[in-house]
């Protein structure tokens, strides 16, 4: 029996401290994650935190949950496999813009259309920190951050625009130095039924000398503060198009950068629900990870019945 406990953010702190540059935006994401897990009172052995490669992908090492630190760009498919084999797990992906939007961009797209019930947190600083400051896929064109020899000749990806197009059913943006607000967004993302995407502006103090704390704080504002009637939730199927257009209007803003929940639609069936109705009515009760596969070394599947239509 698991004891009923009320956990605090400190319960999710790993024994070894984070190894990021002092002042790094990622500290804010980390703290927000501790807070969110505590608020949801999640059992740390039932959370799987999955990451790829990069400064932000080191985050799971600083968290007292089960974690998988995989390879560059592939956090989402590793997380997906874990979730599909055991849908009762709380699966959260963290990663940077290089990991999730460049080398792993394809997986992000395809998670969206599947709507698997898991959360992706993008720690966006527009540079490759761990390899010393190359341009990230969210770095706007023409900017010359300090480590690149000339201004960025490539255009940038708008992660939320991509996520919306891909089919994510929860889309939000936070700012790492606003821990309280980011906590709230992560809590909502984890609670959301379906694929949730949270972009967190998380400035790199070492290599991004342009998109700094000051740069962001001049631009960011909160959706619900600017418009108290802001309601990103799809309450009825008929509202889908309107809500997507409203979200889009906000997502494409460039001069000012809105924070908050842009879109939330729980009316779309999750992959798990679809799989259960199409393939296996017992899928969530008896997913692959929870199935016994043998009794005394003998198969649990009836081979002759399985192959009956092929027997002469």
């Amino acid at each position: 029996m698991q004891q009923l406990v009320k956990r605090t953010p400190a319960d999710y702190r790993w024994v070894r401290p984070p190894e990021w540059c002092p002042g790094c935006g990622h500290f804010g994401v980390l703290q927000s994650l501790y807070n969110a897990f505590a608020e949801l009172n999640l059992d740390p052995s039932k959370i799987v935190l999955v990451s790829g490669i990069g400064c932000s992908s080191r985050l799971p090492h600083f968290v007292r949950t089960t974690s998988v630190h995989a390879i560059h760009g592939r956090a989402i498919p590793y997380a997906l496999g874990i979730k599909l084999a055991n849908p009762s797990l709380e699966v959260v992906v963290v990663g940077g813009d290089g990991d999730l939007m460049a080398i792993g961009g394809n997986h992000l797209l395809h998670l969206g259309r599947r709507n698997v019930d898991m959360t992706v947190i993008l720690m966006d600083n527009s540079v490759y920190g761990l390899t010393r400051g190359q341009a990230g896929p969210t770095l706007p064109p023409g900017l010359k951050v300090k480590a690149i020899p000339k201004a960025n000749p490539q255009g940038e990806i708008n992660p939320l625009l991509l996520a919306l197009t891909a089919g994510f059913t929860f889309i939000a943006r936070g700012y790492s130095y606003d821990i309280k607000y980011t906590t709230k967004l992560i809590v909502e993302a984890i609670r959301h039924k379906g694929s949730a995407f949270v972009q967190v502006y998380s400035p790199c103090v070492t290599y991004n000398n342009i998109m700094t704390r000051e740069w962001y704080e001049k631009r960011i504002y909160k959706l619900e503060e600017a418009d108290p009637s802001w309601d990103p939730v799809v309450h009825d199927e008929k509202e889908v198009d309107t809500k997507i257009r409203k979200a889009l209007d906000k997502i494409v803003e460039r001069d000012r950068l809105p924070l908050g929940i842009f879109y939330k639609n729980e009316l779309v069936p999750t992959f798990e629900e679809r799989y259960e109705s199409i393939y296996d009515p017992n899928y969530r009760a008896l997913p692959p990870a929870l199935q016994p596969i043998e009794v005394d070394g003998k198969p649990v599947v009836d081979f002759e019945k399985l192959i009956a239509d092929k027997i002469l």
Binding site: M1, Q2, Q3, R16, D43, P44, S45, I53, R58, P60, H61, R64, T65, T66, S67, V68, H69, A70, R74, I76, P77, Y78, L80, G81, I82, K83, L84, A85, N86, L89, N106, H107, H110, Y279, D280, P281, Y283, L286, P287, P288, A289, L290, Q291, P292, I293, E294, V295, G297, K298, P299, V300, V301, D302, F303, E304, L306, I307, K310, I311, L312
Partner: protein
């Protein structure tokens, strides 16, 4: 008794359906069939495709050679493709309505073949028409059954009330199969059961086709053989290699299969998918309350994801596999290195095909042995294991899943296009031989931290998220026992040795008979060495080649060096392989320190046949040491 047959025609117009009809019909008379399909990487378009196989009273049925006893052709193009696969005593069934056509009439024929055919006609002084080649064959002892197909089919159609040209065109399959069945002395009932199997559910269509078959069978009086109804006294199955693999996975407890579509691998995963949910056996313990159970079959966005998702499934505790072929396998390299580092047991069923690059997507090769051995950066333990026939494909799927779970390493299961497209009527595998060995997960009474990589055990206790009540870290970075990043040289050394110790463990635990098999006289001075799907051809050839042994290697990594060295000591060796480099010969030299005497290689995209083995061995006896095989059936 042994009959080799061939059914050939334009791809996408029913050759496959006709072949199923024929094979099932022969099977329903109580015979065994061992056949394979050759086709281009197209769906339609009219390139030539065919099925070639053997019919036998016993199993294993002999592997086909380079010529057939009976060729059933749909069109003149098919006749021309197989001019060189007929010999004295062979039977050719063909459509005389195409008599006037030439190699150039068939725009989908390879230009190179058209040239070879025309030159041949010129050299032998006959007109390069279908009729010309047929007459040449007749003069050389081939029995010709020439019929005007469309004329007969139209007449039959009139009798059974079908006049639509589209409908009539569809009768060609049944018409050709029925001619073949008649030549083998089969009855209408046998053809009818083939028709029922191949044409599915529409009662009207089946009835019409049965009538077509009945009428067509009256058109031939000659007999290649007279197949009597037999009672094989055993349950038989009609399946192909992809299917045998999927059934092995399901029986072996694999519950998580990912794939990205690729020839010739995907039918493995899709069979796994199609058969879901699976019937539960009576003795399934706590599962018995369920009538059926499911699994996850998942189409990924690419092979990078396919392997990662499968590994995710394994991390969560499911037996997981992915099925792919060379191009997809190339994309999995980084993840397999991770599986070694992070200690995740996952199976890659690698259906090899002819490369490099896109190569010949639907043709045979054994080119990926070296790649499988050395895939992935850095040094890490893995298992590479090959199957050579459909029974092995079935049972080996269970074995490799056991090993992936036991050793928590990536297991590359080598199979190939030849196996995937082998269609066999064969004995149902004896399920009582199946042994599943699972590892129970640790379950702590309360949530606690746990070491994923304890130093005192080569393979750590099994921790599963959400099941073990354990908080643990899996890591691609070099790590300490807790899974935290670590670069201290002392710890790194220990962790490295702990991982690599799995190789010894695997070598020690897996019994020798699962690594290599030896056939033929124990004291033979000469030994053929082979691996994978060349097995049936080599075994069939052994009947003809006296005093030669066959060392058949299944475990390619960790390579069974001592066993192989022991078998080959002091003997002359002929390595026979479906690749250019003689890859098994290379690794035998590398790992076992044995210098191969000769290598026979075939790399034209076609499998090695019984005749190839015999011919290669004869050349080996004359002292040749690099023997290139170029046969083309």
């Amino acid at each position: 008794m042994k009959i080799n047959f061939l059914i050939g025609g334009p791809q996408g117009r029913g050759v496959e359906t006709a072949s199923f009809m024929f094979i099932y019909g022969v099977g329903s008379a109580g015979y065994y069939v061992f056949a394979r399909r050759e086709f281009w990487s197209n769906i339609a378009g009219g390139r030539h495709s065919y099925v070639v196989g053997s019919i036998s009273e016993s199993w294993p049925a002999p592997a086909p050679g380079n010529s057939v006893d009976l060729a059933l052709t749909f069109d003149g193009h098919a006749v021309l493709e197989h001019v060189f696969h007929l010999r004295r005593g062979s039977y050719l069934v063909y459509n005389t309505e195409e008599d006037s056509k030439t190699p150039d009439s068939y725009t989908m024929m390879s230009k190179a073949l058209a040239e070879r055919l025309k030159n041949f006609a010129k050299e032998h002084g006959f007109e390069p028409t279908v009729k010309g080649y047929v007459e040449y064959l007749r003069q050389n002892g081939v029995e010709i059954i020439g019929l005007p197909y469309n004329k007969h089919i139209t007449e039959i159609g009139r009798k059974i009330g079908v006049t639509s040209p589209v409908m009539l065109a569809r009768f060609v399959n049944t018409f050709v199969v029925a001619l073949g069945a008649a030549l083998l002395g089969l009855s209408e009932e046998h053809v009818a059961s083939g028709v029922g199997f191949a044409l599915g559910k529409k009662a009207e269509v089946i009835e019409q086709n049965k009538k077509v078959a009945s009428e067509a069978m009256k058109l031939v009086e000659k007999r290649v053989a007279t197949l009597q109804q037999r009672n094989p006294q055993t349950k038989r199955v009609f399946w192909n290699g992809n299917e045998a693999s999927a059934y092995g996975k399901i029986v072996g407890g694999v519950r998580f299969v990912t794939y990205y579509p690729i020839t010739p691998a995907t039918d493995d995963a899709m069979t796994f998918e199609r058969l879901m949910p699976y019937p539960v056996s009576k003795n399934a313990g706590e599962l018995s309350k369920f009538e059926k159970i499911g699994s996850v079959a998942f189409q990924a966005e690419d092979e990078l994801a396919a392997i990662a998702i499968a590994m995710g499934g394994a991390i969560a505790g499911a037996r997981s596999a992915t099925a792919t072929s060379g191009p997809g396998f190339s994309l999995m390299a980084e993840a397999l290195s991770l599986a070694g580092m992070m200690e995740v047991g996952v199976v890659v069923t690698l259906w090899m095909r002819s490369g490099p690059s896109t190569g010949q997507a639907t043709r045979q090769a054994q080119q990926d042995l070296l790649f499988s051995l050395f895939i992935g950066h850095g040094e890490y333990p893995k298992i590479v294991y090959a199957s050579g026939d459909l029974e092995e494909v079935f049972f080996d799927n269970i074995k490799v899943a056991n090993w992936a779970e036991r050793y928590r390493v990536p297991v590359i299961h080598l199979v190939d296009k030849n196996l995937s497209n082998t269609f066999a009527v064969m004995p149902l595998p004896d399920i009582s031989k199946v042994k599943i060995t699972t590892v129970r997960p640790v379950v702590y009474p309360q949530t606690q931290e746990a070491e994923a990589y304890p130093l005192d055990e080569i393979v750590a206790p099994k921790l599963l998220p959400g099941i073990s009540n354990a908080i643990f870290h899996l890591n691609s970075l070099e790590h300490d026992p807790e899974g935290d990043p670590e670069e201290d040289p002392v710890v790194v050394t220990k962790m490295f040795e702990k991982r690599m110790a799995k190789i010894r463990l695997i070598e020690g635990e897996i019994p020798p008979e699962e690594k290599v098999l030896y056939f033929g006289p124990k004291d033979a001075e000469k030994v053929i060495v082979g691996w994978g799907s060349t097995k049936p051809a080599i075994l069939t050839a052994l009947d003809e080649l006296k005093d030669v042994g066959f060392l058949y290697v299944k475990m390619l990594y960790p390579f069974p060096s001592n066993i192989v060295r022991e078998y080959l000591k002091g003997r002359k060796t002929l390595f026979i392989e479906n690749n250019y480099m003689g890859q098994l010969a290379l690794i035998t030299r590398m790992f076992a320190g044995v210098e191969p005497t000769a290598v026979a290689i075939k790399f034209n995209g076609r499998p090695i046949t019984t005749d190839d083995v015999v011919a290669a061995y004869r050349r080996f006896e004359t002292g040749e040491n690099v023997i290139k095989i170029e046969s083309d059936l």
